[in-house]
Amino acid sequence: MDRAKLEILADSAKYDVSCSSSGSSRRNVGGLGNACSAGICHSFTQDGRCISLLKILMTNDCVYDCEYCVNRRSNDVKRAIATPDEICTLTVEFYKRNYIEGLFLSSAVYKNPDYTMELLLETVIKLRKLYGFHGYIHLKGIPGADQALIMRAGEYVDRMSFNIELPSEKSLRLLAPQKTKKNILTPISMIYGEKDADKSKKSRFLPAGQTTQMIIGASPESDGHVLRLTEGLYNKYQLKRVYYSSYVPVIKSNILPSVPTGLLREHRLYQADWLIRFYGFKVDELVSPNENLSTEYDPKCAWALKHPELFPLDVNTAPLEMLIRIPGIGVKSAHKIISARRYGRLTLEDFLTMKIPLKRAIHFITFTGKYFGYKTDKAITTALKAIETNGSYQQLTLFSSPEVLSSVLRGEL
């Protein structure tokens, strides 16, 4: 593939948030490559996002005209199309040099959904069979393509994703008129059914499951709405991840906002998403349906402030599921506390030694009855707000919470 074509096809693919290479432990059976279940990041772009997979479009030549998309039919951009062999060669050569962990192949809808899906399927079959590639493959599904093609692709790749695109059917109709809720949800549900039917570890069907992505801020839905949708997707279809992409105006439009949504909203959604997946929170505890998440506090802090009856908690007796509900205490710190208190009662000094972050937590905990936080609610809320504003706005990013940071290192994002 020549440089100009690569630049067009990579530039068009970069707005896809997912770059994870985790969740699969595909083995190298006499060819090239394997997958590492923890995921590996190979580089980081100047916006701080990780490069794990060669994220590229088969083509950016699209018959659809989605309002928000840089590749929409009516937009004047350079178009290119790659052949399956060009994609395979580039993947293998990059992989051999350890530039990448695998391939993330997506495409604009070229001619029609079936034709596009056939091209994608041909590429992944070639890559596995002809090029002997056993590294990670994430394939974007084309909504509306023949079901047999989609299910067949699932036999060859590690992960598939169909993008929800927008958080409601109404917005989808307005901004992506050629895509329908049915076309997107049907394959998601079908894939779930197939995976559910064969739960054995040896199953070759999509070992890393499926994910999805939606754009935040291009349409009017609240955080409460978005998170309920997210929770539903996790519960109903066992998605591995729901990604949020904060809206960036890349092309002129009369019906889209002219300003970007900003990273704070996306950041808060990811924080809430984390609480739902790893901290045992229900959406109902975090935000009501028509409400947005607090901008002043992180969602866990906001929740804790609403529940003064539960705090302060004693770190020497609280069970794990409550320790992880303390603002500023992550899963890792909570496990550290549990391990360390087996050897004796923990004091404030022990927490300092163990480098457990206390900035937020100090106002919500006691050490065998001793409390070191501020005395009045007003002093506490003022202090907590100050933590958020002190410099953190400038540095605020998609990956700025410690949990997200460590998962970035593991290539989960």
Binding site: R3, L6, D47, Y99, G344, K355, L409
Partner: protein
């Protein structure tokens, strides 16, 4: 009092043995190449295989294998202070005769745990940051400069991944070379000049790297947090000459 050891694990174990024998415990343990202040009293420790083995057997009785392994990982750290930290930790384990590896409220345990953690994190990062160039003879060569001596920790990963590909890993900071061909690997410590190999794909990867950047979200500080500047010189995507 400072114990001077030869830098090997056996040297460290011997130091521990001697300190119990003499009932004198050092304030620090260091390897010969460290600058000492004038009023430090230094005691040379002669590595003794029998003494080291006795200490090792004692540790094996107290600690599970996974924790024994962590001792050797900690010793791969690039900070010369590691010998003192590991020494203090092992002394605590022997004194208490208990597996205290999770007693994080003890500074000695925590410092040791940090050493291990830093080595493992860097090893994980370099599974990603290693960059091979294809030499005209078909061998893939990678040079890199990690903070810690991680080559033996990452070699199995690359061996499994590139089963049919001959490659050389070259840590030019610690002068460690690891080679792989047809499923066999070998590691040697040897000072050899780093090779400069031109590879047409490095410029293509740089083009890909630059195309993946969303300019509206520029955040170089975040990028450097994940991929520190000291690693950039061996990454083709960060090479301004390509």
């Amino acid at each position: 009092m400072i114990f001077i050891i030869d830098g090997s694990a056996d040297g460290l174990f011997t130091a521990l043995f001697n300190s119990y024998l003499l009932k004198q415990f050092p304030t620090a343990v260091s390897c010969g190449d460290v600058q000492l202040s004038i009023d430090d009293e230094c005691v040379d420790v002669l590595t003794n295989k029998d003494k080291a083995d006795r200490v090792f057997k004692k540790l094996q009785k107290i600690l599970p294998n996974s924790e024994i392994e962590r001792i050797f990982i900690a010793l791969k750290h690039g900070d010369p202070a590691k010998f003192t930290i590991v020494f203090e930790y092992l002394k605590l384990i022997v004194d208490e005769n208990k597996n205290l590896s999770q007693k994080y409220s003890d500074k000695r345990v925590l410092r040791f745990d940090n050493l291990v953690h830093q080595v493992l994190i860097e090893a994980h990062r370099f599974k990603g940051f290693i960059r091979f160039s294809k030499a005209p003879n078909g061998i893939y060569y990678a040079k890199y400069e990690p903070d810690n001596d991680i080559t033996s920790l990452i070699l199995p990963h690359f061996k499994e991944r590139y089963k049919n590909m001959p490659f050389i890993l070259h840590d030019i900071k610690h002068d460690v070379l690891a080679g792989h061909a047809s499923g066999k690997t070998k590691i040697v410590c040897k000072k050899i000049k780093a090779l400069e190999i031109e590879d047409e794909f490095s410029s293509l990867f740089k083009a890909y790297y630059n195309a993946s950047f969303i300019k509206e979200r520029k955040n170089e500080k975040l990028m450097r947090g994940f991929m520190p500047k000291r690693y950039h010189k061996n990454l083709p995507e960060k090479d301004e000459l390509i």
